[in-house]
């Protein structure tokens, strides 16, 4: 045999475990979606397509979802494109700092954004609306509890994602392509129209599709800002269907699978565009395009770039902070009463203290167990020549196309109907987090694996090292910075997880995300604000550590 035994066995085991973790809940979802009998009984007593037929009645929900997704995608891509263009192509001062700050909206999460914007732009009592009315106008500036409001919050969040994708395609463009156009006599404008835009179009297109797919499956903003106005999208309808009495699991499953189908289609289209539409300018080499000299225009552009950070990060955080120190949920600006009580409650209250501890525990253990496993998977997929690696890649990437809420639903049934008593424990949440974050971890580590020159490993083999020795002495040390980054990313993602946790949290396994939602539903928004801030601070601390560690390791190996 050519392949050493260890390697093959590890791959078979990983494929089996991950295959089961990913596909088993999906299988349950599919079975449940064709269950037209008593939704509580498994396996179903009657099969039929009734649940799918009912989707027709849900057409309102589907159009709502598409509406919100379309609006927010357009805004997110516009935000992302403008930021990417300003930060990669113009010579505004402080670009590096701005580029780093551009990651912050992503760490804010839509849940926190939605809570904050509810405080800012709620009808009548929203802080900005109060200011607006103070000018003497007897109406709201804007009501955030509308589809446009949901789209606004989501667009601020996804704008960063679009920014990262679009600026990557702008950075990877060889500046000489534009320079040769200028040298051949074309004007700045003509160069932009004929060269620059066609070259970045595939990047913008794939960012658009990717963001759109994410919007389809998003939950938090539609939940916080849609439910009060009885505006439902697919994800919130699923949530509602499972909580109604009797729970309509069939409807939830059919909705969830349709969403899954839609996301597979859009993500597939994005992949196709990435593969066939991009030109050979994408060489993996990062060029720093010569920034355009923009003269006096730099001040408005700077204002624009900082404006995004202000609106997406500073303003929401300030609003939340203000609210979290208030005694009453409704802040009437002239009658504010400051208090620390909300923080005391957040830390002490019977179920909330444990929720923080649980979330931290889950974050640390999911990251610690997940990184080595995903690391080996990344190595097998992108480095080895084992025949199963393609299957493994597909399996590991499936969760990217399943909305986390839908995945949580599948896991819920999958584990309720199995005699292992995992439901209601942290174990189930841990398994769920590992599964839904597989694609995230894999993408992060793959980026590093692909950067490590293959001959570094081959050389170890030729020097006489076995596979395990090579992994230990060469591969793993070289991957270390990437592995640490992946650890922190998994930690952050776990700590702020909401969609999958909503269905899987039990009375003894509370975690932060759903607890914030619950306190928002049942208690007060000033308490939710305090909790949301604590979560944000936690995430920011992790991000700060991440950058410090990354810089130290980066500096040491360079």
């Amino acid at each position: 045999m050519r392949i050493p035994g260890v390697q093959t066995w590890i791959m078979m085991l990983l494929l089996l475990v991950c295959g089961a973790l990913v596909l088993y809940p999906l299988a349950f979802l599919i079975v449940e979606s064709v269950n037209v009998g008593d939704p509580q009984i498994f396996p179903p007593e009657e099969y039929g397509l009734g649940n799918y037929a009912n989707l027709y009645e849900d057409s309102r929900v589907i159009t709502n979802t598409l509406l919100v997704a379309c609006i927010s995608t357009v805004f997110a891509v516009i935000f992302g494109f403008i930021q990417a263009w300003i930060l990669t192509r113009t010579a505004i001062p402080g670009r590096e700092r701005l580029e780093r700050l551009m990651e912050l909206p992503y760490y804010m999460t839509p849940l926190i954004g939605a809570l904050a914007w509810g405080v800012l732009l709620g009808p009548k009592t929203g802080l900005l609306n109060q200011l607006w009315r103070a000018t003497g106008i007897d109406s709201d500036a804007f009501n955030i509890y509308t589809p446009w409001g949901i789209a606004w919050v989501m667009a601020l969040f996804e704008g960063t994602v679009a920014f990262v994708m679009i600026s990557a395609s702008m950075k990877s463009m060889d500046p000489s392509l534009e320079e040769s156009s200028r040298v051949l006599g074309a004007s700045k404008l003509r160069t932009m129209l004929k060269i620059t835009i066609p070259l970045v179009t595939p990047g913008i297109l794939s960012a658009t599709i990717f963001v759109f797919a994410e919007m389809l499956g998003s939950f938090a903003a539609a939940f916080v800002l849609g439910i009060p106005g009885r505006f439902y999208v697919v994800t919130t309808s699923i949530w509602q269907a499972t909580l109604s009495y009797p729970p309509d699991y069939g409807r939830a499953a059919a909705l969830g699978l349709s969403l899954f189908g839609a996301m597979v289609l859009t993500l597939g289209a994005a992949r196709l565009i990435m593969r066939h539409g991009t030109y050979t300018t994408i060489t993996g080499k990062a060029f720093r395009p010569r920034p355009m000299d923009i003269g006096a225009m730099k001040y408005p552009l700077m204002a624009l770039a900082w404006g995004y950070i202000f609106v997406a990060v500073v303003l929401p955080l300030a609003a939340l902070t203000l609210t979290s120190f208030q005694q009453f949920a409704t802040v009437i600006i002239p009658q504010m009463k400051f208090t620390l009580a909300n923080y005391e409650t957040a830390v002490q209250m019977g179920s909330l203290g444990p929720a923080f501890i649980n979330s931290m525990t889950l974050g640390i253990s999911v990251a610690t167990i997940g990184v080595p496993i995903i690391g080996i998977m990344a190595w097998i997929i992108y480095r080895s020549t084992m025949p199963g690696r393609i299957v493994m890649e597909y399996v590991a990437m499936v969760p990217a196309a399943v909305p986390r809420l839908v995945f949580g639903l599948g896991l819920l049934w999958a584990w309720i109907n199995i005699p292992i008593p995992l439901y209601g424990t942290l174990w189930l949440l841990g398994i769920a987090y590992f599964t839904v974050f597989l694609p995230l971890g894999l993408r992060t580590i793959a980026g590093v694996v692909l950067q490590v020159d293959k001959s570094l490993e081959e050389c170890a083999r030729v020097c006489g090292a076995s596979w395990t020795h090579q992994m230990r002495t060469v591969t793993l040390p070289l991957l270390r910075p990437g592995l640490i980054a992946a650890w922190l990313l998994l930690f952050i993602a776990s700590v702020r997880e909401l969609g999958a946790s909503v269905f899987l949290m039990g009375p003894h396994s509370k975690v932060i995300g759903p607890s914030i939602v619950n306190s928002w539903l049942t208690a007060s928004s000033e308490l939710s604000a305090a909790m949301a801030l604590i979560q944000t601070v936690l995430v920011f601390i992790a991000v700060a550590i991440m950058f410090r560690v990354a810089r130290r390791i980066g500096g040491a190996t360079e």
């Binding site: 045999m1 050519r2 050493p4 020159d453 001959s455 570094l456 081959e458 050389c459 170890a460 083999r461 030729v462 020097c463 006489g464 090292a465 076995s466 020795h469 090579q470 002495t473 060469v474 040390p477 070289l478 270390r480 190996t557 360079e558």
Partner: protein
Amino acid sequence: MNRDPNNAPRIEVRDLVVKYGDATAVDGVEFAIAPGELVTLLGPSGCGKTTTLRAIAGLETPSGGTIRLNSQTVYSGPERKNIPAEKRGVSMVFQSYAIWPHMTVFENVAYGLNVRKMPKAEVASNVARVLDMVQMQAYADRPSSKLSGGQQQRVAVARAIAFSPNVVLFDEPLSNLDAKLRAEMRVELRELQRRLDITSLYVTHDQEEALAISDRVIVMNGGKIEQIGSPEDIYDRPASHFVADFVGSANMIPGKVTGEGPNGTLAFETQGGAQLRIARPADARVQGTVIALRSAYIHFGQTSGAQNGVAGTIHRRMFHGDFIQYVVDWPAGQLIVRRPPTELFDEGSTVMLSFDPTHCVLL
């Protein structure tokens, strides 16, 4: 060179085939390398030379054939035997050097020794010895990521020879260096190889490097071997159109053999009607319609009776420094001629082209 026939070859490749899907990268390659010999695999990119080398190292799985190292079969298609790279005991210098950036120079070089569980003191003395050989002793404690290209190259060589392998494979080791450094390292590598009597297989696409460094050259094209021979053989007696064209600078002169010439030569009539005398090919069956003539073997000026002499006009002169390249119009079209910079002729002047029949190789 030691070519004792009783000495079993260190590397023996028989009927090697490597396929990637439908594409055949290496197609029936066969050769043997004697102890202490340095053999070059020479060819254009994509000719299968690196694939052959990697198959010998165990980094590429062949589709058929056999590979024997030190009389041990390490790969055999028919026997379904394939020993993994780490058990083959050969060493290799990679094109990218593959210096591990997370280790010091010392740790890099010591790697193969540590894998073999050599005692610490011995490791230290061996590393010191080989670093000394490549003049890198002063850099032992440096982080290897702070080395220049040339220094990395030296460390890569030191690492490859540190565990005293008797076979070392070189995968275009000098191709990432600038021209001057490349010429220096070529000499040093050859010295080192001779001194340590290391059997070497050396892959390059640089024909000059191949001719300069090798005991024998294997010219490959399209996954097949075109010719195996000493550098002089390859240069003076190319076996095919491809070899004549790829190695050195040669003129291809089409025409036909018209009969016997004086002194055992053949008479050859070029297109355009020039009458030449050419060497009789070793293989009498060759029915060539083209001769290869090295541009360095053509003289300007008086012809002795035994040589070919044809009048021509200098069309273009290009000064290269070490030589001058002339494009000369003559009855059979144009001829490239390389002369030392001392032989300066003006464009448009008429010259007598003279060359020896033995340098006209019928293909």
